[in-house]
């Protein structure tokens, strides 16, 4: 095990890593920016070191600052948390060059999974379905019609040179395809100077389901079940839960088992998350892998009782996993609500300011991972996550009822938070029925969703 770990992150995840270090009886140094001098992780740490100014590019995102801090404080490992430098394989390499261990996959593993497209091909080769598409670029109309037929309508016409949804068109019939393809070609030519097009299957009303895995250095891997993260606002997860409410036990087992088999075969190491889109027929398509701890990891911890951050650290230290798939027993249902400093009345504009009063909710099945304390000033420089309220129950209705009660208990005075949208979600029939899809909130509009909740 490591002797001393540098925590190169902030907020609730820095606190979470600190707690894992304490449990493992490993010393921890919290690296902080000037804006985080008064933060809870800095206060609770045995040791803390200022690595730069508020600007993350000169502190949390500065590899030299972070590594220098680790060196001068005598650390032998660096935990990057999530975001910031957590998936930067160059950083991981420099960490290793300084005889420190990067807590996450080793640099060569990060490198192997660095490209999304490459990872899809790699894991596709080990049996994970990916979103079906045309066999290369569309040569002509006949080729397009043939490929569309093979993939199955509706399909999405995508320009090869495009990005960010530009020049894309969804079509539902061969006739629509024939007419749209001409428009797309001319649009692509004028926009990108390249009229190459290809097809991809259009997934309507999909869900975001991800599988948590943990693989040790010796190729021994387990999955820790899935999480449904379909409640999103502009592609940002705001509520996650497990088990996924719409998957049958058989579909769930199939998904998780195929995921762990593929990543072990592909040589993954450490904890990681495989993200999938799941359609209404429970068909799933691999999208990408996150080679780090995720914001929503507590959902899985509540179900399995396994400490994922400690597991991550132990694997990075070269320890064997120490448990098998049969030891991973999932119990009950858990929901995580991300509490953000956002104003639902103003298009969820992020805010900052002083926490006038703070009281965490409690009781059976409630866990609040937050770095808030009364008098803490939330700086405006970083993301708006104030904490995560996790509610566990023996079944989904109990978890929801506890989450609802906990939201009523939570006090965060002085800041505007998104608590309102969580209250609306936990009262919405769509959510209660488990029918949330990734685009639902944006399609209705979050404001309209809140207004509807207020009326009922």
């Amino acid at each position: 095990m490591f002797r001393k770990i540098l925590i190169a992150n902030r907020g609730e995840i820095a606190l979470r890593i600190l707690r894992a270090c304490r449990t493992l009886d490993v010393e921890a140094v919290v690296a902080y920016s000037e804006a985080d001098r008064d933060s809870l992780p800095v206060q609770l740490a045995d040791e803390a070191i200022c690595i730069g100014p508020a600007d993350a590019r000169r502190s949390y995102l500065s590899a030299p600052a972070v590594i220098s801090a680790a060196v001068v404080t005598g650390c032998d490992a660096v935990h990057p948390g999530y975001g910031f430098l957590s998936e930067d394989e160059t950083f991981a390499e420099v960490v290793r060059a300084h005889d420190l261990t990067f807590i996450g996959p080793p640099p060569e593993v990060l490198d192997r999974f660095a490209s999304k497209e490459g990872t899809r091909r790699l894991l596709g080769g080990y049996g994970l379905p990916t979103i079906p598409g045309s066999d290369g670029m569309l040569r002509d109309d006949e080729h397009a019609l043939h490929e569309a037929e093979r993939i199955g309508y509706p399909v999405l016409i995508k320009p090869s040179a495009g990005g960010g949804g530009k020049g894309m068109r969804m079509v539902r019939t061969p006739r629509e395809l024939e007419s749209a393809i001409k428009v797309c070609r001319s649009e692509a030519r004028s926009a990108f100077g390249d009229d190459s097009l290809y097809l991809e299957k259009w997934l309507e009303d999909n869900r975001h389901v991800e599988v948590q895995v943990a693989v040790d250095r010796y190729g021994h891997g387990v999955h820790l079940g899935e999480r449904d993260c379909s409640v999103q606002r502009r592609h940002q997860k705001i509520l996650e839960e497990a088990p996924a409410p719409t998957l049958s036990p058989a579909a769930r087992a199939d998904l998780c088992e195929r995921a762990i088999r593929a990543v072990v075969a592909a040589g993954y190491e450490n904890v990681g998350t495989l993200e999938f889109l799941v359609d209404a027929r429970s068909d799933f398509y691999f999208i990408e892998i996150n080679c780090r701890i995720q914001v929503e990891h507590p959902v899985t911890e509540m179900l399995t009782g396994i400490d994922l951050v400690a597991t991550q650290i132990r694997i990075a230290a070269g320890e064997p996993l120490g448990f098998s798939q049969a030891d991973v027993q999932s119990r009950g249902h858990a929901i995580e609500l991300r509490i953000n400093a956002e104003d639902p009345a103003n298009d969820f504009r992020p805010g900052a300011g002083v926490v006038e009063a703070y009281q965490a909710p409690g009781g059976p099945g409630i866990r609040m991972d937050s770095h808030l304390y009364p008098g803490y000033e939330v700086p405006p420089y970083y993301d708006s996550l104030l904490g995560k309220l996790i509610a566990w129950g023996p079944d989904r209705p109990t978890a929801i009822a506890r989450g609802r009660a906990a939201l009523d208990e939570l006090v965060v005075d002085g800041l505007t938070t998104n608590v309102e949208i969580h209250k609306a979600l936990l009262a919405s029939e769509t959510f209660l029925d488990g029918r949330m899809t990734t685009n639902l909130l944006d399609r209705i509009g979050s404001a309209a969703f809140l207004a509807a909740a207020a009326r009922s």
Partner: protein
């Protein structure tokens, strides 16, 4: 997200703090010092005022960061340096403390302290190391990086330097980061020994401001 407060607002704050300390607080404390009450709170319009007599060793949670024991840098502990947070407005507090009338406390507390906790307090490192206009005589050169400090040839007491002159380097993973003088002045002394691990913003070299030196 940019800091929403402009320079004018910040200067108004500072003016307000000074006025408060000079005129109102001593009177208030003098009047209330004899009362046997633990805490009072008054609200009026936009303002809330709370007076509290500390229960025991004094507060508390929000100040722990600065109380952190010197456990940092075990690899360099021969220097006994703790990269604790420098207390804001140290100079302001010290200069006003002497002149505060009506201090009738007899306990061994460390004297009055003033810590504005309004908006704009964090991420605004500049003022923390600067004395207010016309206030103090000294300035501090701070560390531009986390690393190991090596004072340069000019970092010797009595050396006259100009703003921007190098006073030494902080070695960050083999890359030297220059420590420069923030003012025209004279070096008073080096605060941190050569070879010591330092954090970003740490106070390294003590200087006297030239204009004030000249004016003596």
């Amino acid at each position: 997200m940019p800091d929403a407060r402009d320079a004018a607002a910040r200067s108004a704050d500072h003016a307000g703090i000074h006025r408060l300390v000079d005129a109102l607080v001593p009177a208030l404390i003098a009047k209330l010092g004899t009362l046997n009450v633990g805490e009072l709170e008054v609200r009026e319009g936009d303002w809330r005022i709370r007076l509290r007599r500390p229960a025991g060793a004094g507060p508390t949670y929000g100040r722990r960061a600065t109380d952190r024991p010197s456990r940092a840098h075990p690899g360099h502990e021969q220097h006994g340096h703790a990269p604790g947070a420098p207390e804001p407005h140290r100079t302001v507090r010290a200069s006003h403390a002497a002149g505060t009338p009506g201090d009738q406390s007899t306990n061994g507390s460390s004297g009055p302290s003033l810590a504005p906790v309004g908006p704009g307090r964090s991420g605004d490192a500049g003022p923390d190391r600067e004395a207010p206009e016309g206030g103090a005589l000294t300035r501090i050169a701070t560390s531009p990086a986390v690393g190991v400090f090596q004072p340069g040839p000019r970092a010797v007491g009595g050396t006259r330097v100009r703003a921007g002159d190098p006073l030494g380097v902080v070695d960050m993973l083999g890359v030297p980061q220059e420590v420069v003088s923030p003012v025209d002045g004279i070096v008073v002394g080096v605060i941190v020994d050569a070879g010591t691990a330092v954090e970003y913003g740490q106070e390294l070299v003590h200087l006297e401001i030239a204009t004030l030196v000249e004016g003596r």
